[in-house]
């Protein structure tokens, strides 16, 4: 019993997601927590922020999501919109072919 409980606990521990506390940089990389740095390094941090190519930890734009899961509403809207448009095009094509058939029938009746 104890071994089952311990194995379940171990499984949960292994499956737990990594800590989300660390801020995310502009390119999606985890930025090191500057709070652990010594308080006396403020001038170094400001200098680093001013240097081009150094991640400041304050992204100007939202970071790109790491998976496509966040895109589901966009894909859903695209799908629904295009199913509607293509459906309308098919409907128009069907009506046109029905009209063409009726024209040829009228011609045959003559």
């Amino acid at each position: 019993m104890l071994s089952i409980l311990s194995s379940v606990a171990l499984a949960f521990a292994l499956a737990a997601p990594p800590s989300q506390d660390a801020p995310v940089g502009q390119d999606g990389a985890i930025v090191e927590d500057s709070r652990s740095e010594a308080a006396g390094t403020t001038s170094d941090t400001v200098a680093a922020q001013e240097r081009p190519g150094v991640i400041s930890g304050l992204p100007r734009r939202a970071p790109e999501p790491r998976t496509m899961a966040a895109y589901w509403p966009v894909f859903l809207v695209l799908s629904v919109t295009w199913i509607g448009f293509v459906g309308y095009m098919l409907l128009l094509g069907r009506r046109s072919s029905r009209l063409a058939r009726s024209i040829s029938d009228t011609g045959a009746e003559r």
Binding site: P73, L76, V77, L99
Partner: protein, 252 residues
């Protein structure tokens, strides 16, 4: 078939060729627009990824309203000149308005659910757009509800003018009422307030959808004209047959 009918059919063939060309160019432009939406436009800071719905929602809304504008202008022309071609353009534009407004009203709530946390809110812009959609449905109901087709066309043309009066309300609602919709980010007096990449992607996407819209409108117009042409020929044939079969004709 007389010369006029031959000319009409030649014009319709030209319309069909233009429609096909516009559809092909529009289809390619839509593919480029999709690439821009996913790989060129930046992720917006506050809403994140779902802001990309903007590049579909705004063009469909704009084209729905453009279609209503075309419908109203042609209806006004029809009421004045009684030209059947204007009514054919009007009914084609009304059908496309229904398609594009429906796309807007489907895409909007999907965005709203993620951005605002609710599918629907009875705020001014949404309510006026829904009213426009209902008037658009009413246009088709009215055309079919009268005994005389000519009367149906006239009544529907008047309703189209009422629909057009709703468009300024939709546009000005963000200024006149407290709404959840933001104020315009492109067409505002101070110039675009969004990033240049966002504005470029939106404009290109709008152009691509407009080309598809123009192609569909021409296709629908060609179909409508051909349908009326065939109906006219049938009517003439039926008249002739009934005339030949009448006792008076037999007696003569």
């Amino acid at each position: 078939m007389n010369d006029l009918a031959q000319t009409d059919l030649a014009a319709l063939e030209s319309v069909r060729r233009w429609a096909n060309g516009l559809m092909v160019v529009g289809g390619i432009s839509v593919l480029v627009a999709l690439w821009l939406v996913f790989f060129y436009a930046p992720t917006e800071r506050e809403m994140g990824v779902i802001q990309r719905i903007f590049y579909i929602h705004v063009p469909t809304a704009w084209l729905g309203e453009l279609a209503i504008g075309i419908l109203a202008l042609c209806s006004l022309g029809y009421l004045w000149l009684r030209d059947d071609r204007l009514d054919a353009i009007a009914v084609s534009a009304a059908e496309l308005a229904l398609v594009f407004l429906s796309a807007t009203l489907v895409a909007g709530p999907l965005w709203a659910k993620v951005a605002w946390g609710t599918w629907w809110e009875w705020e001014a812009r949404l309510s006026f757009t829904l009213v426009l959609w209902f008037i658009n449905i009413g246009y088709f109901m009215l055309r079919g509800a009268t005994e005389s087709p000519e009367q149906g066309k006239r009544f529907a043309a008047v309703l189209a003018l009422v629909a057009a009066a709703d468009i300024p309300l939709i546009h000005m609602s963000v200024y006149w009422f407290r709404t959840l919709h933001p104020k315009p980010v492109v067409l505002n007096p101070e110039g675009p307030t969004a990033d240049a990449e966002i504005v470029r992607t939106l404009l290109f996407s709008t152009l691509a959808f407009t080309l598809v819209f123009a192609g569909l409108l021409l296709h629908r117009y060609g179909y409508e004209r051909l349908k009326r042409h065939v109906a006219g020929l049938r009517h003439m044939r039926d008249d002739r047959d009934s005339h030949l079969a009448s006792p008076e004709t037999v007696y003569r």
